[in-house]
Every structure is written in structure tokens, then in C-alpha cells.
Symmetry: C2
Subunit: 356 residues, 2 copies
């Protein structure tokens, strides 16, 4: 059992023949140290593999300055809503790091109003913050935000990216294309080569999302890559949230056959599709959708939905805070980009405890 005491700033100072103050100065790249002594200290640090003790560092610093993380998310209407989970993860991480001096400040924007998003982040910039966590909802406004953050040298992390950011930014999100591929294989396994396939894109007032497009592309890519003789069609159905009655006729026509049917719902509302198809008396249908919201979980439990894909929003939020903290305290940005696994949920491995 080796017991190697970690080397500290004091030892470095002795070895380099300087004071701890000087070591601290070079560690933080502060001014006031000559080139030669800087080199000397750096050499010793290199040789000894010294890493500063973060816990001592945070103990000292947390008392004078707590890191302020701004969080800008869509308005949360419903306790069980998707963003509620992102928030929960953020809160959990902040709780864990609380004594180390970090705080989250929550802001919300109207999910249908780009202007409001812009106004919100401009308002945030008037406060003194150290980083911003948000969501790339609106293409143009997001680009502007990226530029502005760069200008202000403000770390920026996006959750649930729906945009192909041209500028490289920090993204913690699931690869939607990959998720579509997963959905493809799962549905294909259930439905087989002789079935019918449908992609349901549910449209809200903002139209179809890039995320959903990517998911559909991945879904189609699965079939193209895995079935040489691809002689059956995948129907895309764009379903507006309102006046879906007129759609129901088309659906009756399209889906009313004896064939096994596979339905891929590219967003979180697969329960709506499930209910609609049930109402239309469509049978022999296998549905796969996204996100573990309450109504989806109910349909999973009742076997009306076969698969759900989890984006783990709680983990996304949690990771964003942890990653930012690491970046702000260690200048280590490695945890600011995360590819959230495509988690496959069925009735047997689902956690229904939130339903009770």
C-alpha cells in the first residue's frame, strides 16, 4: 500500500527557490514575475507533475466569489414536462457543488417567440454571470447569441441542440440522426420487411424542428443501409397539433390494412399518435417515440407504445453544470461536449416510479 503524499505549492516554492506567492502568480498567469523565474517555476511544476489542490483552492475562493451560472430555458408549464427534468439535473449538480461556490440563476423564455428569447439573454447579460446554459431553439437568434457570447468571452453550453451550429460551440445533446437509426432497427425488428412504415412529425406553431428532421433522416438511413431491396415505402405524415380531424380521414385510408405497421413519432408526443390510432381503430401497429413523459410512460405500460427513446434531460442538465464547473475552475473544457447515449426504454426496464 503506497502512501504518496501529494506535492503542494509549498514544495514547489522550495524547489524553485521562490516564495509561494510567486508560485501562485505563475500558476494563474498573473503579472509581476520575471521571465526567468517563471521558467524556473514552470520547470519544477513540469518535473514534479504538480497539480494544484482544487479543494483548497475552492475553499479559499468560494468565500469571496461564487460562480454565477445563468440558465435560460423555455417556460415550464407542467411539472412533468421535459424541461422540468433538465432543470432537476441542474439543481442536483448545483446542490452537490454548492459549498464549492456555484449558483444557478434561472430565466425563462416564451417558446414561441424568438424576440422574447433574444430579449431574455440580453437581459441576462446585464447581470454579472460566469456562464450561460441554454437551448438553441431559434436559428438566427442562436447565432447571434453565439457571437455575442464569444465577444464577451462568456462560456456557453447548449442543451438538446437542434441546430447544426456552424460555429463550434459546446453541446450536450443526443445525436438525433443516430437516434433515428436506432428507431429504424427497433421498428424493423418488430414489423419486418413486409410491413408498412410511417413517420409522424407533429407540428407545433413553430413548424418542424431540425431535431425531428434529423431523426427522420436517421430512420430512413437505417432502412437504406440495411435492406438492399428496399421496395416498400416509408410514409411521412406531418400532423399539426390543431385540427387534426381532417388528418384522421387520410390516416384511416393509409393505415387501414391488415399489414403490420410501424410508426415512428419524431418527437415527445407519441402518446397523441397512439391515442389517435386507437380512436381510428387501427390495429397491429407498433409505435416508437421519444421521451419519458407521463402520458408516454402510461402508453408504454399498457403496451400501446413499444419503445421510447430517452434523451436523459436530467443527465444533460447535470452534466452541463458539472462540465462548466470543471471548465471554470480547471480551465478543462473536455466535459462541455457530450454525446448523450440513445437509451432504449421498454416496459420492462422503464422506471414507473414517477407515475404512482
Amino acid at each position: 500500500m503506497n502512501v504518496s503524499k501529494n506535492i503542494g505549492i509549498k514544495e514547489i516554492a522550495v524547489l524553485a527557490n521562490v516564495s509561494i506567492g510567486t508560485v501562485d502568480r505563475v500558476l494563474h498567469g498573473r503579472t509581476g514575475v520575471s521571465k526567468s523565474t517563471k521558467a524556473k517555476v514552470l520547470k519544477i511544476i513540469e518535473e514534479t507533475g504538480f497539480k494544484r489542490n482544487l479543494m483548497a483552492s475552492r475553499l479559499k475562493l468560494a468565500s469571496s466569489k461564487t460562480l454565477q451560472i445563468a440558465v435560460l430555458l423555455p417556460e415550464i408549464k407542467n411539472e412533468m414536462y421535459y424541461w422540468h427534468h433538465s432543470n432537476a439535473g441542474i439543481k442536483k449538480a448545483v446542490q452537490e457543488l454548492n459549498e464549492q461556490g456555484i449558483m444557478a440563476n434561472y430565466f425563462y423564455f416564451n417558446r414561441l417567440d424568438p424576440k422574447n428569447f433574444k430579449k431574455s439573454y440580453n437581459m441576462i447579460f446585464e447581470h454579472e454571470i460566469d456562464a450561460l446554459i441554454t437551448v438553441p431553439f431559434f436559428e438566427k437568434e442562436t447565432d447571434e447569441l453565439i457571437l455575442k457570447a464569444e465577444e464577451l468571452k462568456l462560456p456557453l453550453v447548449f442543451l438538446d441542440s437542434m441546430l447544426n451550429n456552424k460555429n463550434k460551440t459546446n453541446n450536450i445533446s443526443q445525436n438525433s440522426f443516430k437516434a433515428g437509426m436506432v428507431a429504424g432497427r427497433l421498428l424493423h425488428g418488430l414489423v419486418g420487411d413486409c410491413g408498412q412504415y410511417f413517420v409522424f412529425n407533429i407540428l407545433n406553431k413553430r413548424g418542424i424542428q431540425i431535431n425531428n428532421q434529423q431523426r427522420e433522416m436517421g430512420f430512413r438511413a437505417y432502412f437504406e443501409q440495411n435492406l438492399k431491396e428496399f421496395d416498400f415505402e416509408i410514409h411521412s405524415i406531418n400532423m399539426p397539433l390543431e385540427n387534426k380531424e381532417e388528418l384522421e380521414k387520410d390516416i384511416q385510408e393509409l393505415l387501414n390494412s391488415d399489414k403490420t405497421k410501424g410508426v415512428f413519432v419524431t418527437n415527445a408526443r407519441s402518446f397523441l399518435v397512439s391515442d389517435m390510432l386507437k380512436e381510428c381503430c387501427i390495429s397491429n401497429v407498433n409505435i416508437i417515440g421519444f421521451d419519458l413523459n407521463l402520458p408516454n410512460l402510461e402508453r408504454l405500460k399498457s403496451n400501446d407504445i413499444k419503445f421510447l427513446i430517452n434523451q436523459n434531460p436530467e443527465f444533460q442538465g447535470y452534466s452541463a453544470i458539472k462540465g462548466l464547473f470543471k471548465y471554470l475552475t480547471e480551465q478543462d473544457a473536455s466535459e462541455l461536449n457530450l454525446d448523450i447515449p440513445v437509451e432504449i426504454i421498454i416496459k420492462e426496464n422503464a422506471d414507473f416510479s414517477e407515475m404512482n
Copy 2:
């Protein structure tokens, strides 16, 4: 933006009209404080909701005593082997907590020799350790270990539990029955009601494991619960690792039909079954197995295995260290029992980066 400074031991001392030394004494339940002052301090602590600053605590304590965690795992033969991943998770957590004063000491036992397991943990007990992480491989010896650890008041965490521990202990492991249920649904989805089902239990010198039995039970339970008219058979095949040639004949006979076949391999060697069936020219077969070892991943990539269930050994090891640290530093045992999710892996959401 509220900025609430955390209350400290000093404030408690002032409020209770005692010195910080006394506050520290009641915080640690040490002797030397009268009943009345103890009550007084406790009351203030309660009222203020004071939580001691762990980072300051660890800063002080890490210098005088680093926590020693003993890790006793089966001998690791192969870099890619299952236990290698447990080890990697343990190492990662220890790395993260290094400066807070924690160390892991690794020990290995012969996987086929219960005596050696016992000898190993007895040897470990001669060292000064603060906790032990191990694996419940052998029923009798594990029970003895549990008793001994209780006696020594030594925290004990089991990874990959294969035993129904009568004594309550700390387990970080996947629910094997549930995993079997998951396998049941996934295979049933692919194979349907008209197929044939097989459970392969691969036997090594130690015979069949309780884990594997539980998995089979879960698998069968799925079908019993979900198919009212359950008129087809699930064949169990016990396959010894050596002289499997004689088995091949039986298998030829059993599996040689046009029907779609579903094969559930209850341990990590599904690649062996896959290869064997291929050799026997059995077609139309769907295999599901456990663990993301290299040969399994290769068969997943080549579509010879359809599903793999991940037990996330790395996460298990990681969580064991983190949980023990929390317990040893905060007396909070809540993270010492973990139900590892049944993670479903298919070709599209697998991480093949370790194959390269």
C-alpha cells in the same frame, strides 16, 4: 440573484455561546461535552440547518489520513475482460477523489477457488482498511465474509451480486430477473409467437451461476405474463465450455427448422453460441446476450447478435467508490445500494470505439 453565504461552525459557536472546539465535538459525537451544552448546540444546528463544509473538512483530514479502500476482484486475465471495466470505473473515481484523501488497494482471487477467495480477504483484513469492495462469487465464503465485516464494522460493497444475500448488505448490481424480462420482450418482438425459443446457460467449472438462473427465470416470466395462450416451449440448453462437440448434434436436431428462432444467452459468452450456430448452419436465429466484450461487439456489428444487455461494470465500480466515499465522509449510506439500469444495446447505439 440571491447570494446567501453558507453558515459555518464559527457562527454556530457564537449563536450557542460556546467555542468552535465544542461545536466540533458535538458534530463528531466525541466525548467531553456536557449534556446541556450538547443539546444547546444541537438545537442551533437544527435551527440554522447547518451542514459542515466537506471541502474544508477533507482538506484538513486528507493530510493526516487517507481512506484506504480494498478492492478484491477475480484475477483479470484479459485487458478487455469484464472485471477490467469494473476496475477502470474504480480507478476513475479514485482519481477524481484523490486530493480528498482516498486510495484503492487492489487484490485478486482465483475465480475457481473459494478457499483462495477466503484467504485473500483474510489477508486484506490484516491491513488497515476503511472499506472493502468485492464480488459475491461463492455462497458460503460470502456469508462468512459478511459476518466478519459486520464484526469488524467494516463497510462492505458487493458488485455484480449473484446471491440473494439474506443478511442485508450493500449491492451495486443489475436486477438479473428484470434483465431476463427485458430479454424476453426484445426476443419476442423479433421472433413472434410462432418461433422457437432457447435459453443457453454456459457452464464453466463452477457450474451455473445464480445470476444466470435469475435471468432465465425473468425470461420465462415475461412469456408467462404476456402470452395468455402459452403453447410453445422454451428449451433450456446447458452448454459446458469444454467438449461441446457432443452438444452440437443435439443442437443440430433441435434448432434445424425453418422457424424463426430466439436464443437467449444468459451470460457474457453469446459470441460462442453465435459462432457455434453459424458453424452448424443454423439460420434464421436471433441472439441476445450480456456484456459488451470485444467478441460480442464484433458479432453485434456483423448482425450475428441482435441485442446485448449492458451491466455497465465501469459505472458499478465508479459508483462503489463514490458511494463509499460519501458514506465514510458523511455517514450517508444512500448511494451504497444501486439498481443498475438494464441498458439495451444494438448496433446503432453501441460504442465501437474500443474495437478500432
